[in-house]
Every structure is written in structure tokens, then in C-alpha cells.
Symmetry: C2
């Protein structure tokens, strides 16, 4: 609990209409997409970097914790106040400050919703590629904190590939500008990239300079159906090695597909083992040629059926299947343990076969889908964590314990294949117990030293990433 004096000082900084300590409000800022809840002691809504600076200076003086928060859509707990303290909600800092078409940059505040930025730049014939599936509500600030990815990463990269510079309030309250407004810049250490993906533990980002691209002229969407998952995986490799880099190259396995309602209505064969949803973008004539090339590669690699979407309605229908998967998995079991593992592209079949074996060994339901083009597969272990009234699928604590063992084995498998335990979601609290499986003690030690030297009193977003600090 915060002393009254601190609340008074915080109120003085942000104004009394921009702070809350009411239980009802605190609950609204206690959760994220991990479905875990930690009540903060207060939530403040600053309007600029100066106010955040004062809040952090006060935190260092008085010794309370500060946790930055965008839309709370993260999958690893980055915005959760796990040790209480003050949540700094960035929702009022939501201005697109500049879109500069000549220099292909945008300057935005952290609270801008990713999708809104995308639509704003697309209106001007420009393109901001990173497309986490939460793009309709997640914020650029959160994307920067977690280094969000998305389906288009296979061609266009992830958030960090678009962040040229930042304004950041350091844990000690100083405001610092990093990077440049230009594509090139090598003055001093790359503090920009150090901040991106640091999960709100090294600073609170208050302004973001983003690189934009010209908007591709057109896109073309292709669906390919396979009876053997290895054929689908071989197709992925063949497409890339044919010099075509699709803008998305999504994979869905049997269990994923079977949950989607519309699936049956699509008239696809019942014994499908894998689907690929492939999109190419760019010059209108070129993508026609590429779509033909992809269709041929799919058929050469034993695709049972390949559909090239004819019009916008068909494209929408194809993407509806892909987007419906994540929520529809609840049909298998009410809860999922969603792990965003990555393996080298050629290892996707080994990863998926291995994951299925582990699931079978522990008697667990498993569904896999995701970004095959860059090897980033969302592995879902379906469990029944809590049993609501009148809804019993044989849930038990034992299942959860089996799932935990399975997750650890999946990470071992993934690391053995030369992969990583997180491609997009970050560590936060969700993968904190496992970070030592991927990083050496030396690597963790270096990271902790950097954290410590920038946040000597440990006020900013404590209890994240590193098991102990």
C-alpha cells in the first residue's frame, strides 16, 4: 500500500482527474492476456514524458514500484504489477505526431493503437508492416516493449526493424533520446534496440520514430491443403528457396483447423493434416506470376488442393479461418498454454512431430498453428484449469502438472533444434522460470548488470524476465 503522501504527490504531478485508487478501477488495470491478476495500488494517466519523469523520480525517492502499461494485451505479463505499486497507463499519450511521406517515417506516442497507425499511413500510400494479431487494440508502445511480430514478419521483420529512435524516460527519471530520424546512424551504442523488447524494465517509452515503407500495390492470397504435414513443411522451404518471399506464410495443423466452424463450409476434405495460408504482395503483375509459382510448388509438393482467392470476399474468408483458430481452440479445452516457440524453418516438421509426441506422452490435447515462414509456431497445450459450474471435462490438477512437464520438454526440444523459447511474446513472468534453459548464466548476468546500472533501486517493472534480481 502506498502512503497517502505519495498519492498526494502523484496527484500533484498528473492532476486529480488522472489518478485513481478505487478498487473497481484498479481491477481494470490488474490483468493482461495471460489471464493473471495483480492489483496495483494506484493507476496514473500521465500526459507526457515530463510527468513520467517526475513519477519515476518520486518512485526512486520513496521506493515504490512503477509498471508501464499500454493496452494490456501482452501474453507474458509485461504490464502486470506483480509486486504492486503504481501502474503508469499510457492511454492518454495516443497522438500520431507526424507522418512524413517524403522521408518515410512516422513519429508517434506510445498509446497509439497499432492498427490505427497502419490505417493512417495506408491512407497516404504508406505501410507499417508489423501486424501482431491484437493490432486492433494493442499499442505501439506495447509492441516496442515486447518487440511484437506477426504474420508479415517473414518478409518484413518485426517491430525492432522499424524503430529508428525513441524518447525514453529512464528508471531514474531522466529523459533520453535514442537513435535518429534517418535510416542510418552509428553514433554511440544502440540504445534504441536495447530498449526495444526490454519489456518495460529499462525505461518507459514516450515517443517512437518509426520507419515506414511504400504501400505494396496489391496482395494475392493462396490456400493450400495437405494430407501430410511434412509436405506442407517442404513446401514452405521450396517457396523460400525459389526466391519468393511471401508477405505471410501461415501454417495450421489438423487440430487447429478442426476447431474452426467455417471450416466445414469451406468444402475442404475432412482428413486434412495441414493448411498453408500464403500471401504475396507488391507489383500487381509480379504477384500474379508469384502466385502461379507458389501454386505450382504446392502441387509439386503433394498439396491436395490449392486455391487462389479470386476477390476480396474470398480473401476475407481465408483469413477468417486463420483468425478464428486461436479463440476456437476453446472447443478442445477451456484453457490453453500458448507458447510462441521458433525453430529454424527446416525444422518445423521435427518440432511439430516432437510436440505431438510429448503431448501424447502426457495425455494432453495439442494444437499448433502460426508463422511457418519464419519458423514461429504457436504451440497450444489445451487444458481445463478451472472448472466452472455445470462445465466439467474431467479437469484436474494432475492435468495442469502434466502440462507443465510437457511445456518444459517442448522447450528442450525446441532448443535442441536450434530454436528459441519465445519469438514474439517475451519472457515477462510467463517464461521467467525457463529463461535459464536458453540463456547462459553469463548472458543473464550481463542483462541483470545492465538492468541494475540503469535501475539501481529496482523501481521499474520489477519481478520480470529474470528469476531473481
Amino acid at each position: 500500500m502506498l502512503y497517502k503522501d505519495i498519492i498526494k504527490e502523484l496527484t500533484h504531478i498528473v492532476g486529480k482527474e488522472n489518478i485513481t485508487t478505487s478498487k473497481e478501477d484498479l481491477i481494470c488495470y490488474s490483468y493482461d492476456a495471460t489471464n493473471q491478476k495483480f492489483l496495483p495500488d494506484a493507476v496514473v494517466f500521465p500526459k507526457n514524458a515530463d510527468e513520467i519523469s517526475l513519477i519515476l523520480k518520486l518512485a526512486n525517492k520513496e521506493g515504490f514500484h512503477v509498471v508501464p502499461r499500454g493496452a494490456g494485451s501482452g501474453f507474458s505479463g509485461g504490464s502486470l504489477p506483480v509486486e504492486g505499486g503504481v501502474v503508469v497507463s499510457l492511454e492518454r499519450m495516443n497522438k500520431i505526431m507526424k507522418i512524413d511521406a517524403d522521408n518515410l517515417i512516422a513519429i508517434v506516442e506510445p498509446g497509439v493503437v497499432t492498427g490505427e497507425l497502419q490505417w493512417a499511413v495506408e491512407d497516404l500510400g504508406l505501410f507499417y508492416p508489423p501486424d501482431p494479431s491484437s493490432l486492433k487494440f494493442c499499442t505501439i508502445g506495447g509492441n516496442v516493449a515486447e518487440c511484437a511480430g506477426g504474420p508479415r514478419a517473414v518478409k518484413y521483420g518485426v517491430t525492432k526493424d522499424y524503430v529508428l529512435g525513441l524518447e525514453v524516460v529512464l528508471p531514474t527519471g531522466e529523459i533520453v533520446n535514442t537513435g535518429t530520424q534517418t535510416l542510418k546512424g552509428v553514433v554511440g551504442y544502440d540504445l534504441t534496440k536495447l530498449m526495444v523488447g526490454s519489456e518495460g524494465t529499462l525505461g518507459i517509452v514516450t515517443k517512437i520514430i518509426l520507419k515506414l515503407l511504400p504501400l505494396p500495390e496489391a496482395t494475392k492470397t493462396i490456400l493450400a491443403v495437405f494430407s501430410d504435414m511434412r509436405d506442407a513443411a517442404a513446401t514452405v522451404s521450396r517457396i523460400i528457396s525459389s526466391r519468393i518471399i511471401p508477405s505471410t506464410l501461415e501454417f495450421m495443423d489438423k487440430n487447429s483447423i478442426s476447431c474452426v466452424d467455417d471450416y466445414a463450409n469451406m468444402g475442404l476434405p475432412a482428413d486434412v493434416e495441414a493448411l498453408l495460408l500464403i500471401e504475396v504482395d507488391g507489383d500487381r503483375e509480379l504477384i500474379e506470376k508469384q502466385a502461379e509459382g507458389i501454386k505450382k510448388i504446392c502441387l509439386d509438393n503433394m498439396a491436395r488442393e490449392v486455391r487462389v482467392a479470386g476477390d476480396k470476399r474470398e480473401v476475407k474468408q481465408l483469413w477468417q479461418i486463420r483468425r478464428a483458430i486461436s479463440p476456437s481452440l476453446a472447443k478442445l479445452k477451456p484453457n490453453k498454454i500458448n507458447e510462441d516457440i521458433v525453430v529454424p524453418r527446416s525444422k518445423i516438421p521435427d518440432a511439430i512431430i516432437g510436440v505431438r509426441e510429448i503431448a501424447k506422452k502426457y495425455n494432453l490435447t495439442n494444437a499448433n498453428f502460426g508463422h511457418a515462414g519464419d519458423g514461429n509456431i504457436h504451440v497450444n497445450i489445451m487444458i481445463d484449469k478451472h472448472v466452472p459450474e455445470g462445465f466439467n471435462q474431467g479437469s484436474d490438477k494432475a492435468e495442469f502438472l502434466r502440462a507443465e512437464k510437457a511445456v518444459k520438454e517442448i522447450f528442450e526440444l525446441v532448443l535442441g533444434l536450434g530454436g528459441t523459447i519465445s519469438g514474439e511474446h517475451g519472457i515477462g513472468i510467463s517464461k521467467m522460470p525457463y529463461i535459464g534453459m536458453e540463456l547462459s548464466p553469463t548472458a543473464i548476468d550481463v542483462m541483470k548488470k545492465i538492468k541494475q546500472v540503469l535501475d539501481p533501486k529496482g523501481v521499474l517493472n520489477p519481478g520480470k524476465i529474470f528469476p531473481t534480481l
Copy 2:
């Protein structure tokens, strides 16, 4: 001078054939492309990370300096032993360890020559885009240390955009692996990007995991001639906003062009104010269309002449002009102060006009050329520093002092235009006095804290980047 005991220990680590203290050898490792010389006390040629680890542990114990060195082609002094000590030459660690076409990655040792890697991957239909003009002799390790760029950066980015992971020996001797072998990866802080561009001050890179691309099918080269520099600059903006991102978009001003011998033989008009050398790459049919589009944009923007190279011989001839510029500038004056400033693309005319005004004010000869596509212009102030026998062009110390003042004013101009004082070369010792013009005391303080926490005894590459440490 190093004690004999230290030399003995170093000899024990690397073997007696892999260490030298002879004056003749030391001279060979005392310089780089800045043309400054600092004699080391010894040069060692380790064969792996373990030996480098032992060297750094010894340095921390005995208190001597260690300076890593690739090919010594840097423009900012990164590999110079400014405070003496042991140069660690990475020339023996020159193996391409793996080229993985399925997963589009290469794993290399730091001493691999950049061009050799490019040719090796191109033989397999793959592509490593960063192309510093020293690519025939510079090394990937040096490219990583300085975050090298090149003409192709406008479309393909710079070295850091291709480094997925590293093996690094930290200043204290621990060996750490950073990053992943996959396109995505968000486990912990991005130590990879922190190391890239840290100019050999945070660690010695011993292994590099690089992202590759499929090799573009074809390229097309275009030369456009302008009577007004503003027309050339407008053309650059119009090309980009027409949704064509060329693979190179090079600019040369009048003074640059006039030095090139072959120029007259090209049959170009005498009163040319600017040239653009533009290349597009990719699908064969698409680039034909793009080349036509670019030609039209050039003519619409008052180009006096546009040539599309018909065959390889013509392409070679066009690039010969571009490559001849840097060495041929010696015709103007024997020495150049070469600054790799960057401005937002739309500010190129303001930058060049401003630079010329400053040169005029200080009665200096100036020539500008470089990467217009990303706003990275090589500004050259030509001076006569030392007067060799029988070669006197009116050199004096006063000219050098005027040039120093001009450089400072050029940096003020560039920063005022929203640019940066270094796009490719780094700070090293050359721009150390000016770093405070671009970075705030807070930013410098954060960087120095990171340096200090990783290198508490200051053994690794001291006297670089930061004016005092």
C-alpha cells in the same frame, strides 16, 4: 611497454608463431584508413574464442589494454591501439563455418572478408546485401563492430539488420552467446544489437550468425544527369514515393564528378551539376518496368540525360565512375576530411547547399557524393595536410584549422536538419570530440555506464567513442 612476463604468458596462450613484438610487424598493425598511427606493444593472432578469453582474463589481471582488429579498413580509428597494448588480430579466424540455404543463414568467423562471403553465398543463389565500399578487403567482424553500411542500404539496410546472433568474448573474458539462429527471438535484452556498432569496446566478436536473402534474379543500372542539384534531389524523393525502392541510389556532385578521369570519355555534358546512379534489382520483368518508371521520373524532374545500361560492360563503366570518385578526389587536394553525415532524404539539397556555403566561407575545397537514397552523404573537405617534397599546393596549418571549424559547422547544420554525424563510419577517435553535439549528457552517461559495468577495468579498446571514461 608490456612486461616480459606478460609476453611470455601471451605466447603460452597463442603459441610463439602467433605473437609478434618486432617493430616492423607492429608498424603494420598501427594504422587504419584514418591514416593515423599508434604503435601497439604486441600483436597476437588467436585461433578461437577460448584463446581470446584467456588474453582478456590476463589483461584484467595484469592491467594491459586489448584492441581487436579486422582488416584495419575503418574510417574512425576503431582498431587503433591509441593507448598501446596488445592488438588482437582476428585474421586467422576467417572460416565460413556454415551456409544454410534452407534457413537462409550463414555462420562465420569475424576474419572472413565481406566480399568473400558475398561471393560464396551468391554461388548458392543467396545474397548478403551489406556492401561497404571496402568489401574486397574489410572483414565481417569489422563490419559488425562498426555497423557498416553501403550503397545497398537504401533497400536492404545495414549490417545490424543481418546479424541474428553472436558469440562474443566480454571484456572480462567470459564467452557469451547472444541472439538466435532464427528470424524472431525475444528472450531477454537484445545483446546482439548492443554489440553491433559498439566499435570493439564491449566485446570481441568471435562468431557471427547472419541472415541471408534469396539472390535477386537481375539488376538494372541507370545514370541520370542534372543541371540543378535540387532537381536531382527531387528525383530521389519522387522515385521513393512512386513505390520503387531502388537497391542503390547514389549521388555525385559536380566537384566529385570532375575528378574522375573516365568522365570525359563518357560523353557527358561539361556543365553537369549532379549525377544519380540508380540500380533496381529483383524479378527480371519487374525491374524493366521499374527502370522505365525511373527514367520517366528523372525526365519529369528535369534530368538532361538518362541512360539505362544496356549490358554488363556498360554497368561496369557506370560503377567505375562511382568507385573512382573517392580515390580521385586527391586531384583537388592530397588529403580529405571525409564525414559520413546523414540527413532525412528530403533535406539533401539543404545539406549540400549548406555544406558548400560553409566551405566557401572558410575558403575550402569541397566535394560531396554518397547514398542519396538513405540521406547518407559523404562530405569531403579537401586539404593539404602534409607537404611532400616537390609537391606544394599552398598548404598551411591555417587551412587545417579552417577545415576543423568547417567540420564543426557542418555537423551543426546536419543536426539542425534532423540528421546524424555518422551513418556508417562510427565515432572511434575521429568524431569523439563531436559526440556531445548529437548525444545528450544523459545518453552518453547511459552508454558509459554500460561500458563500465561490462569492462570495469577499462581494458578493452580504451580511448574510443567517449571523450573521457
